[in-house]
């Protein structure tokens, strides 16, 4: 799909984006989102300017009020600290059938319209399944590089497999709402383990206290597994029973985002979590795990691309047909392509 005109040269686009040109920023985000080696060279160019923003993820089941909460957090931050600029990346699912998507998170963010200190970008998952798009981390880097100090990421919210956000954000807010399910839902949902801050939104509804109680119970029961690096490989270990007493315990907060209630407390908790990460060894450990996953992802993508370039579509198709016809097993076929 090509636009009528030629795309602008990437280095010039990067320069203009870094100088604060919002049009250039928006185009650069698209180029990064569309991927490929060009995207990587742009990311390499901006990388030295990244690492300054505070990155906060917001996840939770559909209908819990993620978009409204994100909007309120941005609005409150801008009111209290007008010098802090806010970037928002809102992810919605791509239809697996058509490849298209309807991205509707801006509907709940209309209060932010007209504020030049806020930049909102909607992203479709484009086939990725972990609650974010494959390029979400890269788009966050672009926003970080051009100087947004607070970056909010809203995940898809499919509910139970939203772990990508823990690898992208410094602090993850998990949003729940009363009446969405019983305690078993909270056990099933693997997202409780990634919560740094738990928010029970729509707290003006019936059943708030039982939701809060259920979450307290879950947190007391849970000994969150931890990812560690072992000889360069990522491993998950159960937290030892004698886990240090000063380990972060996710606070459980009540909000009514649609009425701007409880937002200050959420931001306080986010700030406390940030302070915790800078003092506690867990902060370093997280950074290391994140770097390992990122490097591994880039290596996997690069190696696959190089291999496919070398093999060529004809040979690849031939091999696929052989495997489909069961003339060769997929393991030997892969071995042949690699050799």
């Amino acid at each position: 799909m090509a636009n009528s005109k030629l795309p602008e040269a990437l280095p010039a686009l990067v320069d203009r984006a870094l100088q604060g040109d919002r049009r250039a920023l928006s185009r650069l985000i698209s180029r990064v989102e569309n991927g490929g080696t060009e995207a990587w060279s742009a990311l390499a160019a901006i990388y030295p300017r990244t690492g300054r923003a505070q990155i906060v993820g917001v996840t939770g089941a559909p209908g819990t009020g993620k978009s409204t909460l994100v909007s309120e957090i941005a609005k409150f931050t801008r009111q209290q600290h007008p010098e802090i600029t806010v970037g928002i990346v809102a992810v919605d699912p791509t239809s697996p059938f058509s490849g298209g998507a309807v991205l509707g998170d801006r509907i709940r963010m209309r209060d932010l319209a007209g504020d030049a200190g806020v930049f909102i970008r909607s992203m479709a998952t484009r086939g990725s399944l972990g609650g974010l798009a494959r390029a979400t981390t890269d788009v966050v880097k672009v926003l970080d590089a051009v100087g947004f100090q607070l970056i909010l990421i809203e995940t898809v919210g499919a509910g139970q497999s939203e772990i990508d956000i823990a690898r992208t954000a410094d602090t993850v807010i998990v949003v729940e709402a009363p009446g969405l399910g019983d305690e078993v839902q909270a056990i099933k949902a693997g997202i409780l383990e990634i919560a740094d801050v738990l928010v029970v939104n729509k707290a003006d509804r019936d059943g708030v206290q039982s939701t809060v109680n259920a979450l307290h119970t879950m947190i007391d029961l849970g000994k969150a597994p931890t990812s560690v690096l072992h000889h360069g490989h990522l491993m998950t270990i159960a937290a030892p029973p004698e886990a240090p007493i000063d380990r972060w315990r996710p606070p459980i907060l009540k909000t009514v985002a649609s009425e701007s209630t409880g937002i200050a407390e959420v931001l306080d908790a986010v700030a406390q979590h940030r302070a915790y990460l800078t003092h506690h060894p867990e902060g370093q450990q997280r950074a290391k795990v994140r770097a390992a996953i990122e490097l591994e992802t880039i290596l996997r993508d690069t190696l696959l691309q190089r291999l496919l370039d070398r093999v060529g579509p004809a040979d690849l198709n031939h091999t696929i047909e052989q495997v489909a016809a069961r003339a060769v097993d997929p393991y030997s076929a892969a071995e042949q392509l690699l050799s």
Partner: protein
């Protein structure tokens, strides 16, 4: 490369009927496009700013209030102010035939009236962005 056609669907003005906008959004999604839907009662500035932030290829405007001759040219002007003159603008809703030419003169590429087949809209947009 994984380029998708990105389209902003917006409802300018004060009427609260967004069924048409939702039908179009859905049809474009089913045609494989990424549709950013912004909801009701958008000002021209809000629409142009959203188009900028989302880096869309086209903006589709649904309007039933009768204020199209005022609002649509203003939206086109707001887009131009932000260097978005290359963004395709199309409109749908209750728009009398005699108003179509003035709108085209103002930079609205196409006007789709009530009863337009959504396939027709999809074909029109595809035609604008297909490589020759």
């Amino acid at each position: 490369m994984d380029k998708k056609i990105r389209i902003l669907i917006a409802k300018p003005g004060l009427d609260g009927h967004d069924r048409g906008a939702k039908v179009i959004a859905r049809a474009l999604r089913d045609a494989g496009m990424e549709v950013i839907y912004t909801g009701l009662r958008q000002t021209p500035e809000m629409i142009a700013e959203a188009a900028l932030q989302e880096d869309v290829d086209a903006v589709g405007l649904s309007i039933l209030s009768g204020a199209h001759l005022t609002l649509l040219p203003r939206i086109a002007a707001c887009l131009r102010e932000r260097d978005l003159e290359d963004v395709l603008i199309f409109a749908g809703g209750i728009i009398p035939d005699e108003d179509v030419q003035p709108l085209k003169d103002a930079g609205i590429a196409a006007v789709f009236g009530p009863g337009t087949n959504t396939d027709h809209v999809v074909e029109f947009i595809r035609g604008q962005f297909q490589t020759a």
